[in-house]
């Protein structure tokens, strides 16, 4: 069975390491914060100016002055810090953040990513995504394998305007975990009950399949 959004978030949480500072994008990436392995300390950075994000507030305790990059009300943990936007992107551009997780509309086999614009139809803007992907050493994309029209989002080359080039290292979808290296997607793990054939059929870009493909736990 293919993973749901929570399953994707849980799988990405397995990539976390103790002591890391992590930036989570809007959507599925935000859910990763709920599945930090026990015994591990990970600090979440939000580019609007906070380190040490905590859970959402209890009803009635929301503070309009305290939000995440998705404009949701949040809380902070003891030891949190607030800072301005230039300092926030100094953390990102200066590679002080160890992991970036974000969503995408398309990813190419050489690691290009597109997620900010559909010409003539939708223009939301890139927000902090271009700064994040241009500088982060470790970028994981969390997304569905196909778009709503059923077309693969893992492509030989992106068709939409790019957010960044040669930057994505790993993709986690509802079907599989794939690494990107040497101009191809490398299948690492498949979701329980999902066949290698299905992944192959739904991946338009070059796909390298090893002899043994582990199951996502």
């Amino acid at each position: 069975m293919a993973l749901d959004k929570i399953g994707i978030a849980k799988r990405i949480a397995q990539e976390l390491k103790d002591g890391w500072y992590v930036n989570l994008g809007i959507g599925i990436p935000t859910l990763v914060a709920n599945y930090v392995p026990s015994g591990m300390t990970v600090e979440f950075q939000s580019e609007n100016g906070v380190l040490g994000m905590g859970p959402f507030p209890f009803d009635g305790e929301e503070d309009a002055d305290l939000i995440n990059a998705g404009k949701q009300t949040i809380t902070v943990k003891p030891g949190a810090a607030f800072f301005d936007s230039a300092t926030s992107f100094a953390m990102i551009r200066g590679q002080h953040v160890q992991l970036t997780v974000l969503g995408a509309m398309e990813v190419s086999q050489n690691g290009d990513i597109a997620n900010w614009k559909i010409p003539g139809k939708m223009v939301k803007g890139m927000g902090g995504a271009m700064d994040l992907v241009a500088s982060a050493e470790n970028i994981i994309v969390a997304m569905m394998h196909s778009n709503k029209a059923g077309e693969s989002k893992l492509l030989p080359a992106c068709s939409l305007p790019l957010t960044g080039v040669r930057c994505v290292k790993k993709v986690v979808t509802e079907l599989a975990v794939l690494a990107i290296k040497n101009g191809a997607f490398h299948l690492i793990e498949r979701a329980p009950g999902v066949s290698v054939e299905e992944i192959k059929a739904k991946t338009a870009g070059a796909l390298i399949i090893p002899d043994v493909v582990q199951m996502i736990i």
Partner: protein, 231 residues
């Protein structure tokens, strides 16, 4: 020199048609809401607004879009505003979308006397079109120029009569850099206090960057995405 003005109307004296204005805030958090409402009332037209976002349809900068007072927007993310998207796609509104970190640094650079800088953000994308490219440490970077404005309008939690400002939580965001980059910077504060009331160790924006300060009448502080967890 007295920086304190008695109300929002006096604070905005001198803002004219066609000017470039920076406005602090991230989403609806930390926006100078009293000044925005006053700009609508004032009817100033053909404005170029530099702001990370464009508000929502009926609040924040969305109000100035509804009244067609904005000619051009310089922003990084405009996703929550249908009227914005409509005006942009139809070509009525000129829009310059730039990466958020580059926007923040361009404002900081403008206030800090740095005319331009190289950043890796946007290389290989349409943001890089027409911009100088150089390789540093084996990595391509693009040249981004500083931004300044005729007026910067920022919002702070507390401010004193010297113009020193303290922001609260994530309502800080773009306000400190924009305060630096305005030829004239107007600070709208929730609480205006006498000089000496704020601890000099904890000032976010030193008063040198602020020319006018006033206490806002009403702070609605609308929440864009109220998100809570069960008790």
């Amino acid at each position: 020199m007295n920086k304190v003005v008695k109300n929002v109307s006096d604070a905005l004296v001198g803002i004219q048609d066609g000017m470039t204005i920076m406005l602090g805030g991230f989403g609806l958090c930390g926006i100078p809401e009293n000044a925005i409402k006053e700009l609508v009332k004032k009817g100033t037209k053909n404005l170029t607004c530099i702001s990370n976002n464009a508000g929502v349809d009926d609040y924040g900068l969305g109000l100035l879009l509804q009244s067609r007072q904005i000619k051009k927007m310089i922003s990084s993310y405009v996703g929550e505003n249908d009227e914005f998207e409509r005006q942009m796609l139809s070509g009525e509104l000129e829009v310059d979308l730039i990466p958020q970190g580059s926007l923040a640094e361009r404002c900081r650079a403008g206030g800090a006397g740095i005319p331009a800088f190289f950043t890796p953000a946007g290389f290989g994308t349409e943001v890089a079109e027409g911009k100088e490219m150089r390789v540093f440490n084996g990595k391509p970077h693009i040249l981004e120029r500083a931004l300044t404005a005729d007026f910067a309008i920022v919002k702070a939690w507390k401010g004193d009569t010297e113009g020193n400002l303290v922001y609260k939580a994530t309502a800080m965001n773009f306000n400190p850099m924009m305060a630096m980059a305005g030829k004239i910077t107007i600070a709208e504060v929730e609480e205006l206090v006498p000089a000496g009331s704020l601890d000099p160790n904890f000032i976010h924006t030193p008063g040198i960057f602020v020319q006018r300060i006033f206490q806002g009448d009403v702070f609605e502080k609308r929440i864009e995405q109220r998100t809570v967890r069960p008790r």
